[in-house]
Subunit: 239 residues, 2 copies
Amino acid sequence: MTASLKPEQNQLLAALPAADYERLLPHLEPVILPLGLVIFESGSKLRHLYFPASGIVSLLYAMENGASTEIAVIGNEGVVGIALFMGGESTPSRAVVQSAGHGYRLKAAVLKTEFELGGPLQHMLLRYTQALIAQMTQTAVCNRHHAVDQQLCRWLLLSLDRLVSSELTMTQELIANMLGVRREGVTEAAGKLQEAGLIRYSRGHITVLDRPKLEKRVCECYGVVKKEMDRLLPVQTVR
Amino acid sequence: MTASLKPEQNQLLAALPAADYERLLPHLEPVILPLGLVIFESGSKLRHLYFPASGIVSLLYAMENGASTEIAVIGNEGVVGIALFMGGESTPSRAVVQSAGHGYRLKAAVLKTEFELGGPLQHMLLRYTQALIAQMTQTAVCNRHHAVDQQLCRWLLLSLDRLVSSELTMTQELIANMLGVRREGVTEAAGKLQEAGLIRYSRGHITVLDRPKLEKRVCECYGVVKKEMDRLLPVQTVR
DNA sequence: CCCTTTAAGTGCGCTAGCGCACAGAGCGAT
DNA sequence: ATCGCTCTGTGCGCTAGCGCACTTAAAGGG
């Protein structure tokens, strides 16, 4: 694990000036992110800020009746646990690893000290938070106005952007939980996309066959989020 | 206007330590917020941070086809224009005065300087931002899972919390735009509430007759947002 | 290799909300 | 008082998505 210690696989870390990065480095603890790992629970006090290097983490909100909805997805372009530096210590949502990977984490105390310095790290975390807000608001809009198959396209593209391969491991049941719809609704929507040759679906494995067509079919929400992310987030710099 | 210059009507300003408050005071420019005023447009560069003292401001997102959805409401408990200190300068949403009032604003440059100091102002603004995020995520959830009349209850209560009187001036058409539903849908939902004796509706004027019953009927979303606001935001201090 | 488990597909009746079209109804200006 | 405008109420038919019950089919462990 130590051999492959490359925190700069996380784009935020990668974009930090060398001085800041090196100050952080000794505090970055490598963590593996197995599928299903709950990084934090709704309302629980956060202990670490997570910098994913690979994999995908979902922010989910669970309702009293058990139904749930995905609020945002986070990959190696961001961090998990913004409540730490925003000052609230916890949020009403939970963070779950949706696609296995690995990452690095920073102890709450270290993060807070560094954040208070007010330098590049603070600026980047805040800009990322704004990008995350954009994603959340767009989710709200999409939930209201768009059909399930369009939302599925959006979800697939958002996931694809955070993965290296074009295959993702995810049952329809789980996708339904993310989108906050019925499992059968996902079956139907996925069926449409499969028929149109955009994806292939098989027992928990989705392969995206034709990304361009997916982008044609998706609602505007994906583009808005993407554009805002590109605008707000640093370009990956080679170290 | 100068006679009634009481920026501490805004709860964030009121909660600032005297030293910080007084440093800000000379820069606070009073502004009136007439109904319908667009504080900022989607994508436009922000020039000021607004501290409402009365009235309500809506954050709205408009889609390509003209349909729109409210993302959050802001009253004297918060600020309008968080993108300024988050670093993005603009957002894909727009801010519109939904209920007339007044407030105070700070030039972007002044705000940034003060924010960079990293003191109580920064902490408060970030905590408020987290509360706003909670509101946005809950909106996403509510859009997905709850019936129009429950959402109307939520909307009424959120508005009521930010007003002194129990009457609000708002046509069903406008409410429909906020909730992202049909105007007729609001007519129907409002009819139900009126029949149950919770509200009285008349040509753009809604009077809330029975707030407790409204709170019984509303979905959990209102409570979650309220609780999170109370947790994160400072209690009003007497100056 | 079978047999259990888990994922995916299907059918059917039901309801909420949509789109459209139009009918009262209050309010304000002339 | 009247006209015109805006706001509200209503009545359609239509569709997407829901809830439920069930079948089919692949995967994987004994």
